[in-house]
Amino acid sequence: FLEDVKCQAAELQASDGRYQAQQRITQLLQIEILQLYSKVEMEAILVPDGPSQTCTNE
């Protein structure tokens, strides 16, 4: 049993590593989205009649 515990602990650690990487990815993607939105909006001001209404997902 002791070995089983250790064995699972290693699996848990690897699984957590994978989760943390995914969490980090989510953060970065969110930052990227914010930047892209502000870019899109800035352009929308420059081309008020263009097809550039920003999608607000609302």
């Binding site: 070995e3 064995c7 290693a10 990815i25 970065l28």
Partner: protein, 294 residues
């Protein structure tokens, strides 16, 4: 497993009559059948003997903690490692940090930066600094040793992290240590390096931060990294020492420090295997044949 941990290691007798390779491979195979794997024995083995190339990547992965000691978990943990790799890669592609033409070493750098919270924002992208260059250089070398890209990324990342954690404090002292052993082996060469002003400018960075990546061809390099991964950074000093000793005559003939440095940054690639063999012998001579990992 034998009761006596030393029993599986080749005896002095075998060493003399040259049964080395076969004996070593058998010993390692026995160690690799253990479940859980005995990390200490595996470290001791790779401190003492070169790893057979067919087992090298596997042993490195175990020693660096990419795979756990329990063989039963290897496939599950391996699949987690692969998913993590793929997730990061995909995200970097979507965010346009990398594209299909990006060289793999740069892909690995971005992946590593993402994981270590050091990924630059797009507006801050600047040419790679020294630390990035070290990473790229180690990646380049690892790529030549390891075929599978998932393994390669994990080995680069774990090798670099382990090196910083374990040896970060020792690395600044390695040049002094080199000077010490050079004074024992070849005081004349040491004086020449001192008098010419080259001693302070030796390529310590390539030797002790990049662990000879880009200096030695991978066939020689992997035998040095066996020792580093299994727990010794002292080996780096002896490889540097042996390079100096091997090119003593050449170095004594160069008086300008820049000439010496230039030569050492681009040493001939022909007899590096012999240099590494002699370096390992010298290391064993000064530091003893390890019973436990240093």
């Amino acid at each position: 497993m034998a009761d006596d941990p030393q029993r599986n290691f080749r005896s002095a007798y075998y060493e003399k009559v040259g049964f080395r390779g076969v004996e070593e491979k058998k010993s390692l195979e026995i160690l690799l059948k253990d479940n859980p794997l005995d990390l200490e024995k595996l470290s001791t083995f790779s401190q003492r003997f070169p790893l057979p190339s067919m087992y090298r990547v596997h042993v490195w992965k175990v020693l660096l903690g990419i795979l756990p000691p329990h063989s039963d978990s290897h496939s599950l943990v391996g699949s987690y490692r692969k998913e993590q790799y793929q997730d990061i890669m995909e995200a970097l592609e979507v965010m346009r940090f990398i594209k299909s033409s990006t060289p793999s070493t740069h892909v690995y750098l971005r992946m590593f930066q993402l994981e270590s919270h050091m990924l630059p924002r797009c507006s801050e992208i600047s040419p790679p600094d020294q630390e990035n260059e070290d990473f790229l250089s180690i990646s380049q070398a690892m790529e030549e040793i390891v075929e599978d890209s998932v393994d390669c990324y994990w080995l680069i990342k774990s090798f670099i992290s382990q090196f910083h954690t374990k040896f970060g404090d020792s690395v600044p002292h390695l040049p002094k240590s080199l000077e010490h052993f050079l004074s024992q082996e070849e005081p004349g060469l040491l004086s020449h390096l001192k008098n010419s002003g080259a001693l302070a400018q030796l390529p310590y960075h390539l030797w002790f931060r990049r662990c000879f990546a880009g200096v030695l061809p991978e066939s020689s390099l992997q035998r040095v990294w066996d020792k580093v991964i299994s727990g010794s950074c002292k080996i780096l000093v002896f490889v540097a020492l042996e390079i100096l000793l091997s090119y003593k005559i050449m170095l004594l003939g160069i008086s300008r420090p820049e000439g010496i440095v230039k030569f050492l940054c681009n040493i001939p690639q022909e007899n590096t295997d012999a240099i590494v063999t002699k370096a390992i012998d010298l290391w064993h001579k000064y530091c003893g044949t390890p019973i436990h990992a240093m």
